[in-house]
Every structure is written in structure tokens, then in C-alpha cells.
């Protein structure tokens, strides 16, 4: 007998067609909504990511690379059809909460994550950093990571990106000198991606933070991964640098899984913030080819609107 929660999610996933969000009116607790959100993020590839992979395969000339991309897409289809996580590393979920909410939302998210770990199931990944003891529920001190952005809207929005360790371990922060300039920024990003090699499961999505303080810079690099791959950066300088880095990286020959080929990155996203006149912080945060993410908007009447 399948639980109500499972059937509801199946229906959501089934109905989710391309960019059209689906409104479902089911009076649900936050924990159940978060559980559904995690299921969506882990089992279904965002449509724009699917298209980016198709496009990458279309201009791939290396045989091994082509078969890697084929295997990737095969797997994504099976995961969605079967409703199970596309990757065994269901990562550490990073949550972004915005709109209207109060302090009770943290408990809702923690309970939802615990439920998701048991029912989807997710792999219990969180351990104490020194004793390495596993918490068993993807919780533990400081987990999960939740960013709060309150606003005056009358809905609550929760976004999640499950961050796998293969890609997250390749994160780089450089406190460059202002004299390093744009060349220094480009060199830093290119080196970060290419030195990572096959470890982060390329073709990767490259999040780049430029400026801010050190923690802001890393935060921006990760937040950049929330953008759709077909979004256009409104700032001309940033867009040009994104395009240039995209071309250089895809000409490098690193290829899918670092086995050689044309498809090394699916997209480069840059986010910037003003910084100290004596500083030039640059951060790179990578996502594997799946670029997993999902968002839910919860309206006042309890309607939940899922989108990816």
C-alpha cells in the first residue's frame, strides 16, 4: 500500500510538463511539502538541464564522451520513471527560504528532511566532522543549511539544491589582488574547473561569485547554481565573461567525466557584489551534470506550487 504522500508526488512529477508549474491544493504540513520537494529535486532532472545535455550530446565528437552523455540521460529517464534518486549521493540539501515565514519553518524543514531520508529514501550523509559518526537522518548540529530571505510577499517559497560531495569538494575561494584584474578572475575559474578534472562529474554547471566579503563570495557562487541554464545575465560585462569562460572550458578537451571530449561545462553563471577596494574575492562552486534543484511556493490557502 503506497502512502498518500507518495501518490501525490507521483502525480506532481507526472503532470509537470516543461516549464508549466502545477498547482495542487492539498492541505499539507510543511514537513510533507518539504519531503515532496526533496523527492522532486532528487528524482527529476530540471527540463533546462535535460535540454542542455541533449545539446551537449549534439555537438559531441568524442565516442566515449557521447556514450557517457547517453548513459547520463538514460539514467535520468529511469530515475524519473521509477521515482527513485538519480544519484546515490543525494547530497546535503541546501535550502533557501523566502517570502513570508516564521521561526517554525525550520522545524518543518528538519522534519521533512528526516521523513524524506526514510521514505524516498535519501542516503544518510551527515557525519560529525571529527568523530565521523553518522547522524542517520541527514541532520546533526548545523544541518541542514538554510538561508533565509524574508520579503513582503504573502506566500512562502522554499528552494532546495541537493549538493553532492564530488562537486562540492571542488569549491575554491581565492582572495585575489585587485591588480590581478579580469585576467586573474578568468585564470582562477579556468584552473578551478580543470584541476577538478573528472571528480565533480562533468559536464558541470559552474557557479562563480566575484566580489563581496569572503563568505558572501562563496555564497554567491553557490546561489548562481539556482539559475536556469537558459537564463540570460542582464549585465553585459558579466554575460561576456560567462560566454568567454564557457568557450574556453568547452575547448579544453576535459569532457564528460574527465574522459575527454567537448562537453566540459553546461553553463557558467556569474554573480557579483561590491567589495573592498583592496580586495578581489573570487569563488567557484560546481554542480555535477544533474544540477538538481526544485522550488515550491506555498500560498496562504495551502496551495503548493512546485516548479524546477
Amino acid at each position: 500500500m503506497r502512502s498518500f504522500s507518495e501518490t501525490a508526488t507521483d502525480r506532481i512529477v507526472f503532470l509537470l510538463n516543461a516549464h508549466v508549474p502545477i498547482m495542487i491544493k492539498i492541505p499539507k504540513q510543511i514537513d510533507d511539502i518539504v519531503c515532496d520537494l526533496l523527492r522532486l529535486a532528487n528524482t527529476r532532472l530540471p527540463t533546462d538541464v535535460g535540454w542542455a545535455l541533449e545539446a551537449a550530446a549534439a555537438w559531441e565528437t568524442n565516442d566515449i564522451a557521447y556514450s557517457q552523455l547517453g548513459g547520463i540521460m538514460d539514467n535520468a529517464k529511469k530515475a524519473e520513471y521509477k521515482g527513485i534518486p538519480m544519484c546515490q549521493d543525494t547530497g546535503i540539501p541546501v535550502f533557501y527560504v523566502s517570502g513570508k515565514f516564521n521561526s517554525s519553518i525550520e522545524k518543518g524543514i528538519r522534519d521533512g528532511l528526516r521523513k524524506a531520508t526514510e521514505t524516498i529514501p535519501l542516503r544518510p550523509n551527515t557525519v560529525h566532522p571529527i568523530t565521523r559518526k553518522n547522524d542517520g537522518h541527514n541532520l546533526g548540529d548545523g544541518m541542514p543549511m538554510i538561508h533565509y530571505r524574508p520579503s513582503d510577499d504573502d506566500f512562502t517559497e522554499i528552494t532546495v539544491i541537493p549538493k553532492g560531495a564530488g562537486a562540492e569538494n571542488m569549491t575554491k575561494l581565492g582572495m585575489l589582488d585587485p591588480a590581478d584584474g579580469t585576467d586573474g578572475i578568468k585564470r582562477f575559474v579556468v584552473n578551478a574547473v580543470l584541476q577538478a578534472g573528472g571528480r565533480p562529474c562533468p559536464p558541470t554547471v559552474v557557479g562563480v561569485g566575484i566580489g563581496g566579503t569572503s563568505e558572501k563570495c562563496v555564497e554567491m557562487a553557490k546561489e548562481a547554481l539556482l539559475e536556469r541554464l537558459d537564463s540570460v545575465n542582464g549585465n553585459d560585462d558579466e554575460r561576456r565573461m560567462e560566454e568567454e569562460l564557457f568557450l574556453i572550458l568547452n575547448e579544453s578537451g576535459l569532457g564528460p567525466m574527465g574522459l575527454g571530449g567537448n562537453a566540459t561545462v553546461l553553463r557558467v553563471h556569474i554573480r557579483t557584489a561590491y567589495c573592498h577596494t583592496a580586495s578581489l574575492p573570487v569563488a567557484v562552486n560546481l554542480s555535477c551534470w544533474a544540477a538538481r534543484r526544485a522550488t515550491v511556493r506555498i500560498h496562504n490557502d495551502g496551495t503548493a506550487e512546485f516548479k524546477q
Binding site: 549521493d89 573528472g198 562529474c201 574522459l259 575527454g260
Partner: protein
């Protein structure tokens, strides 16, 4: 080509980088903690000897008192660079399945002892789990789901690319020199 596991040195030495292969037979998982414990223990599970070692921390589910695989893709092999050469020497590991490749030390140990590195598709956890026909058991379960040594039976597990062979060749080395060559063209 299908490799029957456990396999022998002759088969391993006949494989060349770039070939696509599948593995049928027994397979054990082992990542960070399995490597650390195996190298610091007096006694290790027998299955480790001459094994096909899969760098993987799967998602498992207990159904009717029996463990079943939900998702099982490869984990990043490079994290085990410092431990793998000794593993190969001590336990005669014949086949390593992982992703992302390993260091030149490991490549050297592979050449000396007759061991091959097969690259699985990173993230293809559902497709690979479908190739696991049975979970025969688990050793060192106290290490937790992701870190325990799971014993799998497989049927045409793959596709896997021979990425580092037992003759000292590595696709990753070739790609790396190509990447460096390309980058020389950019002045920044």
C-alpha cells in the same frame, strides 16, 4: 566485452584503455572507511582478496529482512589515491570501478600487480543498480550505509570504460596533457 568477476591477471592484462566492458559476477563496494579499516586491521573479510572493488556508497533499502539496492553509482576515486596502491599490493585487487581516475602511484601499483581501473558513468546510479541482481551480504555494517562493504552479484554491470590499464596507460593522463596544450593558447 564481459568480464567475469572475480577475474584473473591474464584477463586484466589483456584489457586496453578505451575499451568498453561489462562486469558479471561478484563485486564489493568500498570507499573511504573500508580502505582505512582494511589497511589498519589484522583481519579483513575474505571477499576483499582478488576482488572487484567498486568505489561506491549505495542507497540501500531493507525489504522483508533482505537488503536491496536502490541506487548505486560510483563515488570519486581520487579521494582514495593515498590508500589504493597499498590495497592493491596487500589484497591483490584485480579490478577497480570508480569515477574521475586515480594518481600515478596507483597506476604504478596496477601495473606491478595486474589491476585495471574501469570508469563508470558518474551519477548513473539507477542504471547501475539495475545491473545488481542480488545483495549477498554486508561486511563492516557498523560503518554505516554509505561506508559499509556491500557484496553484490551483478549481471552485465556497466557500461564501463577501461580508463587505466595494467600496462601503465591512463586516459586521464592523455586528457590532461591535451587540456594543458589547449590552455597554452590562452594568454591570461
Amino acid at each position: 566485452m564481459i568480464i567475469t568477476s572475480p577475474t584473473d591477471e591474464r584477463t586484466v592484462r589483456s584489457l586496453r584503455t578505451g575499451q568498453t566492458v561489462y562486469v558479471s559476477g561478484s563485486l564489493i563496494t568500498g570507499r573511504d572507511k573500508v580502505h582505512m579499516r582494511a589497511l589498519s586491521s589484522e583481519k579483513v573479510p575474505k571477499v576483499l582478496y582478488n576482488s572487484t572493488l567498486f568505489h561506491c556508497g549505495p542507497i540501500m533499502k531493507k525489504e522483508k529482512n533482505k537488503w536491496a539496492v536502490v541506487a548505486a553509482g560510483p563515488t570519486t576515486s581520487a579521494r582514495l589515491n593515498d590508500l589504493e596502491a597499498e590495497m592493491i599490493r596487500r589484497f591483490g585487487i584485480k579490478v577497480i570501478i570508480g569515477k574521475g581516475g586515480m594518481s600515478s602511484d596507483v597506476l604504478e601499483a596496477m601495473k606491478e600487480n595486474g589491476c585495471v581501473y574501469l570508469a563508470a558513468i558518474g551519477g548513473a546510479a539507477v542504471s547501475l543498480a539495475e545491473c545488481v541482481t542480488e545483495t549477498k551480504g554486508v561486511e563492516w555494517e557498523d560503518l554505516g550505509m554509505a561506508e559499509a562493504m556491500w557484496l553484490f552479484s551483478t549481471e552485465r554491470f556497466g557500461p564501463l570504460v577501461v580508463a587505466m590499464d595494467a600496462n601503465g596507460n591512463s586516459i586521464y593522463d592523455d586528457v590532461n596533457s591535451k587540456v594543458n596544450e589547449t590552455l597554452k593558447r590562452y594568454q591570461f
